[in-house]
C-alpha cells in the first residue's frame, strides 16, 4: 500500500491537471495578469518601465540554492503585538513561520496574523498614484500627484486658512510615522490631526488618565495569567484579540479562575465563560454600579486601599446606592442574584481584573463607562498588582503608540496638551523657533484649541460656517491610513465627500473613501497614493501592553508604494517646511531614517516615559525575545543589553536610555521598587483639593498617596511630581550633574524651579528622582471623583437612540453644548427621537462589532483572499424570535433601515441566539455597498476587495461623547424587513 519514494519519483505525471497550482516561475504575461495590470489595460501602463512596478512574486519553495533569510516584523492587525517571522528569499516573502520566541504570541496567530504574507503579494493593492479625472480613476506619477496636491493645499490655506486642511492619520503606522504626522499638523499650523483612537479608545484614554494618570492598559496579556477573576465587559477577545485569549484561557485553566462575561451578545468569548450575563446595550454603568452596590452592601470593598490610594469615595457611594438590584435589573436586565454572585467573585476572589474594549468606549457615555470600570477596580483594590488592573485591549497594531505620540486633536505628543508650555517644550525638542510655529497657525488662539474629532470631519465640512469654530469649514482631507466606513453616519459623510475641495487618500488600498467619493458624485479633486504596509516599512510600534517592538521591513515596498515617512517627506518638501521639520533627521533617498525619529521621540517624551526606549535597546529585545519570561515578561538580570528589562520596555521607561530603567510591566505597582518598574498613582491632579461642604465651608483634602510608596523610596509617603524646585527643597539638587543643571537653567530661565520631570530635556530630574527610589511623576491618589469631566462621578445616561423611552426622563443625556469646535446636539436628538416615537418604527437595538477575519474598515483584509473566503457576505445577527415574526429565514437577504437619513442597507440575515430578542448586531468591517447598490465599479480597476458589502455605519446614528467626541456605533435603533 505504501508507495515508495523511489517508485514515485520515476513516475510521469500524465494526468496532473491540478487546480491549485501555485504561480511560480510565471512568464511576463502571467506576471502582468497577476499584478492586476492587464485588467486596467496595458495601455495605462504606457511607457513606464516594468521595474517601477515591483511585484513580489509569490510562492515557496525557494529556488534551488537561493538563501532564505529570516526577518521579524509585527503583525499589523491588532494590538496584541504578535511577532511575525518571515522567510524571505531573493526579496520575496516565501513563507511564514511560527514566532516561538515571542513571549506575547509564542508562535500563535489568529486568522489575520496567519495570513499577512498575502499583504505583500497584494493582488488588490493600490499599485500607483491615481487621480479622479471626470469621474474616472486615472493613473498619474508620484511627482505630479505631490505637486498638484501641494498646490491645492496651499491654495486652500491661502483662501480658508490652515485649519481647513484636515490631517487624518493612522493607528497602523509606526510610532515614527504617526509622530511625524502630528508634527506635520504642527508645522502646517493646525490641531486638526487625528487617528483611529478617536473611534477606538479616546474615551478610555480620557477616562482612565483622568482617574489615575495614564490612559493605557495597566497590566498586560501575560500578566492576566496571574488573575483569579477575569471580568469582560465590552470585550469580545476571542474575535478581537484571539492570541490574547491564549493567556486568558490558560489563566482560567491554571488558576481554576472565574471567567465572567457581560455582553449583550453571547460571543465566542462568552462561550468560554464560567458565567455569562446578557445585558441591554448601553447600560454598562448600571451594570457596574449594580455590581458595586452588592460590594458595598456586603462590605467587600478594600477599605484600606480606598483610604490610602483613592479620592472621592463618599461621592461615589451616593451614586452607587441608587443602583439597588431592582433598579439595576429594570435598566440592564441582569437579575440581582446573578449580579451578587458576580460581585462576590470579583471582590473576594482576587486578584481580579476588568477587561474592556470598544464595547465600553463607543458610546455617548464612553468616558463615564470606562471611569466606572476603573472605580470598580479601585473600590476592590484590584489595581497595581499582578493579576489585577484595567486590561484595556487596544485595537490597531499601533493605536497605543499613535495615541501616545499625539496624533490627536487635543494634545501635542505625549499628552503635553495644547498650552504655551507644551508648544515651547516641543519647539525646544524640534529645535524650531516657537514664533515661527505660531506664525503657521491662523491665529495664536487656535494653537491652543482642540481640533475637530475625526468622527465629525464631515460636520466640519457641512455645518454652516458660523457653527464651526475656526476660520472656515474643512475644505481638504489628507487621509493616511484610515477607513471611512468605520465612522458613523455614512449617509452624511457622503455629502461631506461631495462638498470637499480636495480628498487625498494615502493607503495601501483605495478604501471606501474612493468608492464612496465616486458614489457621492465627485468627479475631480481626489487622489489615491499607494502607501506600503508595515511589512514594507521600518520602525517601532506599541502593543496593547505598552511594550515597544521594532520591525524591520520584510520586503521593499511593492509596486509604486512608498513608506509613510517618505510620503510625508515629499509633501512636507512640497509645502515648504521640510528643512525645518527634518532638521535632526537623516533622509536617505527621500526616506527619513526611522531610528533618528525614534531618538527625537526619546528626547521629548519624558511625560510618558518613551525616553528610555532607544532604538538600540528595542532592537536588542527583538533579537533576544526568547530570554523574556512568559508571565513576568522580564529578562534575567545578568544578561548583557537586556538584563532585568521587561519585554519591549513597556512605558513609562524612565530617564535616558543610559539610566536603564526596565520599563513598567504593571502600572502603579507600589509593591516593587521604581527601578523595577514600580510606582504609585501619578500625582497629576495637584497636591490637595478644596472641597465645598454642605454648610458652605470648605476643607482641603489630600490628593497624595496616604502612607504607601514603592519599596526603596526615600520619601515614605505620597509626594508630588518632581521639578527643580522640589529637588531643591529635598536637597537632591546637588545630585544633578553640571550639564543637566545647565540644560534646566537654559529651559527655565528665571523660572528654573518650575522645570519639571516632563520638561527637563536633560533627563536629570528624572534620573535623580529614580536614584532616590521615587517615581518622577509623584505618588498620588487615583480619582473616583474626576471633577473636571462632564460627569465627575459616572452617571447612567440612556443612549441617544434608546428603545426604553420611559427611562429617558430619568436618565437623559447631557445638554447640548459646543465641543471641539462643533455643536453637540445629542440632547436635542434624543428628545426628538422620543417625541417622534422613533422607537416604535425602529424597535430593534442595533449594535456593531468585530469579526476575527477582518479588521477595521476591512478593505485590506477583504482584499486578502485567504481571509475574504471566510466571510463572504455582510450579515446581521437577528434573534430567532425577531426573525420569525418578520418572516426572515437564516441566510436570506433583509433590508435594515436606520433611524436617520432614511438609511437602508441590504444584508444577509444570520438568525442566531447569539443576540437576545430585540437586539441585532452587525460587523463593521464591510464596505463597498451603499443602500443596496454595489459600488465595485467605483474602485480603480483591479483594486476592489474580493468581498464587498454594506457598511454597518450606514445605519448608525448621531451620538458623541462630550469629553472626547467618540461616536456611538454600539447602540442605536433599526428595523429589519425581509428583502
Amino acid at each position: 500500500m505504501l508507495i515508495r519514494r523511489t517508485e514515485r519519483q520515476a513516475r510521469r505525471s500524465g494526468l496532473a491537471a491540478f487546480a491549485g497550482q501555485s504561480d511560480r516561475g510565471f512568464d511576463r504575461r502571467t506576471f502582468l495578469q497577476r499584478s492586476g495590470l492587464v485588467a486596467g489595460g496595458l495601455a495605462t501602463l504606457g511607457a513606464l518601465p516594468l521595474v517601477s512596478v515591483r511585484k513580489a512574486q509569490a510562492g515557496p519553495p525557494p529556488a534551488k540554492g537561493a538563501a532564505v533569510e529570516i526577518k521579524k516584523s509585527i503583525c499589523t492587525h491588532c494590538a496584541v503585538g504578535c511577532t511575525v517571522t518571515a522567510e524571505v528569499s531573493n526579496g520575496v516573502w516565501i513563507g511564514q513561520e511560527p514566532s516561538w520566541d515571542s513571549p506575547i504570541n509564542r508562535g500563535s496567530h489568529c486568522a489575520k496574523g496567519a495570513s499577512v504574507r498575502e499583504l505583500v503579494s497584494g493582488e488588490r493593492r493600490l499599485k500607483y498614484p491615481m487621480k479622479l479625472v471626470n469621474g474616472q480613476w486615472t493613473r498619474i506619477k508620484w511627482d505630479q500627484a505631490i505637486n498638484e496636491i501641494g498646490d491645492k493645499m496651499l491654495e486652500i490655506r491661502q483662501k480658508s486658512g490652515a485649519e481647513s486642511v484636515y490631517w487624518m492619520g493612522s493607528a497602523k503606522m509606526t510610532n515614527e510615522a504617526s509622530y511625524w504626522m502630528r508634527k506635520m499638523g504642527a508645522y502646517w499650523g493646525t490641531n486638526n490631526t487625528d487617528h483611529q483612537a478617536r473611534i477606538c479608545h479616546s474615551t478610555t484614554v480620557t477616562g482612565v488618565a483622568n482617574t489615575w494618570g495614564y490612559g493605557a492598559m495597566t497590566n498586560s496579556l501575560n500578566d492576566m495569567r496571574n488573575a483569579k477573576t477575569l471580568i469582560y465587559i465590552g470585550s469580545n477577545a476571542a474575535e478581537a484579540h484571539p492570541v490574547g485569549m491564549q493567556h486568558m484561557l490558560e489563566s482560567k485553566e491554571l488558576n481554576k479562575g472565574n471567567f465572567i462575561v457581560f455582553d449583550p451578545r453571547m460571543t465566542r468569548t462568552a462561550a468560554h465563560a464560567t458565567e455569562y450575563a446578557r445585558f441591554r446595550p448601553g447600560t454598562d454603568i448600571p451594570v457596574l454600579y449594580g455590581m458595586m452596590w452588592h460590594i458595598l452592601k456586603n462590605g467587600w470593598e478594600d477599605k484600606e486601599f480606598i483610604k490610602q490610594r483613592s479620592y472621592g469615595f463618599d461621592d461615589l457611594r451616593k451614586e452607587v446606592e441608587k443602583w439597588n438590584p431592582e433598579e439595576c435589573e429594570r435598566v440592564t436586565g441582569v437579575p440581582g442574584a446573578q449580579m451578587e454572585r458576580i460581585a462576590k467573585k470579583f471582590a473576594t476572589e482576587k486578584p481580579a481584573t476588568i477587561i474592556w474594549c470598544m464595547g465600553q468606549t463607543q458610546h455617548s457615555v464612553g468616558t463615564a463607562n470606562v471611569r466606572a470600570s476603573c472605580i470598580a477596580l479601585l473600590m476592590t483594590g484590584n489595581i497595581g498588582k499582578p493579576g489585577t488592573g484595567a486590561n484595556i485591549l487596544r485595537g490597531h497594531d499601533n493605536v497605543q503608540g499613535a495615541t501616545d505620540v499625539g496624533l490627536d486633536i487635543v494634545t501635542l505628543p505625549f499628552y503635553y496638551g495644547l498650552t504655551d508650555g507644551a508648544w515651547h517644550h516641543w519647539a525646544r525638542v524640534w529645535e524650531t523657533d516657537y514664533d515661527w510655529l505660531v506664525s503657521r497657525f491662523d491665529d495664536k488662539k487656535m494653537m491652543n484649541t482642540s481640533g475637530i474629532p475625526l468622527t465629525r470631519w464631515f460636520d466640519g465640512v457641512l455645518l454652516p460656517k458660523d457653527q464651526v469654530a475656526q476660520k472656515d469649514n474643512v475644505r481638504a482631507m489628507w487621509v493616511q491610513g484610515h477607513a471611512s466606513n468605520s465612522i458613523t453616519r455614512i449617509p452624511e459623510s457622503l455629502k461631506g465627500l461631495k462638498a470637499l475641495e480636495l480628498l487625498v487618500v494615502a493607503d495601501p488600498h483605495p478604501t471606501t473613501w474612493a468608492s464612496l467619493a465616486v458614489k457621492a458624485g465627485r468627479k475631480e479633486g481626489a487622489y489615491l497614493l499607494p502607501v506600503a504596509t508595515q511589512f514594507e516599512c521600518k520602525g517601532s510600534r506599541i502593543a496593547t501592553n505598552r511594550s515597544m517592538q521594532w520591525a524591520d521591513p520584510v520586503v521593499k515596498p511593492i509596486f509604486e508604494s512608498k513608506d509613510d515617512l517618505e510620503v510625508m517627506y515629499l509633501i512636507a518638501k512640497k509645502l515648504g517646511f521640510a528643512d525645518k521639520m527634518f532638521k535632526n533627521i537623516k533622509v536617505e533617498n527621500n526616506l527619513p531614517v526611522a531610528e533618528d525619529i525614534l531618538r527625537e521621540i526619546n528626547r521629548g517624551s519624558w511625560s510618558t516615559g518613551y525616553c528610555g526606549q532607544s532604538p538600540e535597546r528595542i532592537k536588542a529585545h527583538m533579537a533576544n525575545q526568547s530570554k523574556f519570561d512568559l508571565v513576568t515578561l522580564r529578562a534575567p538580570k545578568d544578561l548583557p543589553d537586556i538584563g532585568g528589562d521587561y519585554y519591549g520596555l513597556p512605558w513609562p521607561c524612565w530617564g535616558a536610555p543610559e539610566v536603564r530603567h526596565p520599563g513598567s510591566f504593571i502600572l502603579y505597582n507600589h509593591t516593587v521598587p521604581v527601578m523595577d518598574g514600580g510606582s504609585g498613582f501619578r500625582a497629576r491632579f495637584g497636591v490637595e483639593r478644596e472641597e465645598k461642604l454642605p454648610d458652605g465651608t470648605t476643607r482641603k483634602v489630600n490628593l497624595l498617596a496616604d502612607g504607601v510608596y514603592p519599596p526603596g523610596s526615600e520619601i515614605q509617603d505620597g509626594y508630588p511630581e518632581f521639578n527643580y524646585g522640589v529637588l531643591k527643597k529635598l536637597g537632591w539638587d546637588k545630585d544633578l550633574r553640571p550639564a543637566e543643571l545647565e540644560v534646566i537653567q537654559k529651559i527655565g530661565g528665571d523660572k528654573a524651579d518650575a522645570v519639571s520631570w516632563s520638561t527637563d530635556l536633560s533627563g536629570g530630574i528624572q534620573r535623580v528622582a529614580l536614584m532616590h527610589g521615587c517615581a518622577p511623576y509623584g505618588n498620588g491618589k487615583a480619582r473616583m471623583n474626576a471633577w473636571n469631566l462632564p460627569d465627575p462621578i459616572p452617571v447612567h445616561r440612556e443612549p441617544i437612540y434608546t428603545p426604553r423611552v420611559e427611562l429617558v426622563s430619568k436618565y437623559p443625556t447631557l445638554p447640548d453644548a459646543k465641543q471641539f469646535r462643533l455643536p453637540n446636539i445629542g440632547f436635542s436628538v434624543q428628545k426628538a427621537a422620543v417625541d417622534k416615537g422613533i422607537a416604535k418604527d425602529f424597535p430593534i437595538i442595533l449594535s456593531s462589532g468585530r469579526l476575527v477575519e477582518y479588521e477595521g474598515g476591512g478593505e485590506e483584509t477583504r482584499s486578502n483572499p485567504w481571509l475574504a473566503e471566510l466571510q463572504q457576505d455582510m450579515f446581521i445577527e437577528v434573534n430567532p424570535a425577531d426573525a420569525s415574526s418578520r418572516g426572515i429565514k437564516d441566510g436570506a437577504w433583509v433590508w435594515v433601515t436606520g433611524a436617520e437619513n432614511a438609511a437602508k442597507a441590504k444584508v444577509k440575515a444570520l438568525v442566531t441566539e447569539r443576540v437576545g430578542k430585540g437586539v441585532a448586531w452587525m460587523p463593521f468591517h464591510f464596505g463597498g455597498w451603499f443602500g443596496g447598490d454595489d459600488l465595485r465599479a467605483n474602485y480603480p480597476q483591479g483594486t476592489d476587495p474580493y468581498v464587498l458589502g454594506e457598511s454597518a455605519n450606514t445605519i448608525t446614528t448621531y451620538g458623541y461623547d462630550p469629553a472626547t467626541g467618540m461616536q456611538e456605533p454600539k447602540v442605536t435603533l433599526c428595523q429589519i424587513k425581509a428583502a
Binding site: 508507495i3 511560480r24 519553495p61 509564542r106 474575535e239 485553566e253
Partner: protein
C-alpha cells in the same frame, strides 16, 4: 516511529480560523478548497463549542479503503497521503470520510471533479521532498523539514495540537486533569478508535 495525529481541544478553540488561513498561506490553497475548517456547535447557545477539523489521518483510513484506484498511502508516520496523478476525481473518498476532509476543485462531476485535495499534514505528496513539483500539487512538506503542520503550530490558543499521538494525548490529559473538564478528543474514536479518558 511516531504516529502523527491531530487533536482539537474544543475547550480552547475560539473559532479564530488561524488554522484555516495558516493552511492557505503555507500551502497556497486556492479559493474554494478548504483543507481545514472550524465548525461551531450550538452556536450562540449554552454549551457552544467550536472545533477545528481537517483530515484526521485515520488509522485504517476509509478514504484509502474505498478509493477505486488506490491512490492513497499511509506514511511511516501514520500520515494519510494521496497521489494526484492517480486520483480520478470520483468523489468516493468524500462519501467515506467521517470528517468531510476531501475537497474538489470543481463542483460538478463532468468529466471529473478535478483532483482531490486534502490536508497533507503538511507532509507534501509522492514527489521528492521539498521539490517545486510537490509544492505545486500538495503544498508544503514541513514534516520533511522536521516541522509540524502550520495550522497547529500557529493555533491562537494552543487548542489544535499536532504531533505524536501519544504525546498530544498526554498533553490533553494533563490539561483536563489540571482544569477539571474536557469535552473529549473530538474525532478520535472515529479516526483512531480510541478515546482519551477525561
Amino acid at each position: 516511529m511516531a504516529r502523527m495525529k491531530f487533536l482539537c481541544d474544543a475547550d480552547r478553540c475560539i473559532e479564530c480560523n488561524a488554522c484555516v488561513t495558516a493552511c492557505k498561506n503555507e500551502n497556497e490553497v486556492p479559493w474554494g478548497i478548504n483543507r481545514r475548517r472550524v465548525v461551531t456547535i450550538n452556536d450562540g447557545k449554552p454549551g457552544e463549542k467550536s472545533v477545528s477539523m481537517a483530515c484526521m489521518h485515520c488509522t485504517d483510513a476509509p478514504c484509502q479503503a474505498v478509493c477505486p484506484v488506490n491512490c492513497f498511502y499511509t506514511t511511516a508516520d501514520g500520515v494519510v497521503l494521496h497521489s494526484k496523478d492517480l486520483c480520478i476525481g470520483c468523489g468516493y473518498c468524500f462519501y467515506a470520510c467521517p470528517f468531510g476532509a476531501p475537497q474538489y476543485p470543481k463542483v460538478g462531476n463532468f468529466g471529473s471533479r478535478g483532483k482531490m485535495d486534502k490536508c497533507t499534514y503538511c507532509a507534501g505528496g509522492p514527489e521528492a521532498d521539498g521539490s517545486a513539483e510537490e509544492y505545486a500539487k500538495y503544498g508544503a512538506n514541513r514534516l520533511a523539514e522536521g516541522k509540524l503542520p502550520l495550522c497547529a503550530e500557529m493555533c491562537s490558543t494552543k487548542s489544535l495540537l499536532a504531533g505524536d499521538g501519544e504525546i498530544i494525548a498526554q498533553i490533553y490529559k494533563e490539561r483536563v486533569v489540571k482544569r477539571g473538564y474536557g469535552s473529549g478528543a473530538w474525532g478520535w474514536k472515529t479516526a483512531y478508535r480510541e478515546t482519551i479518558a477525561s
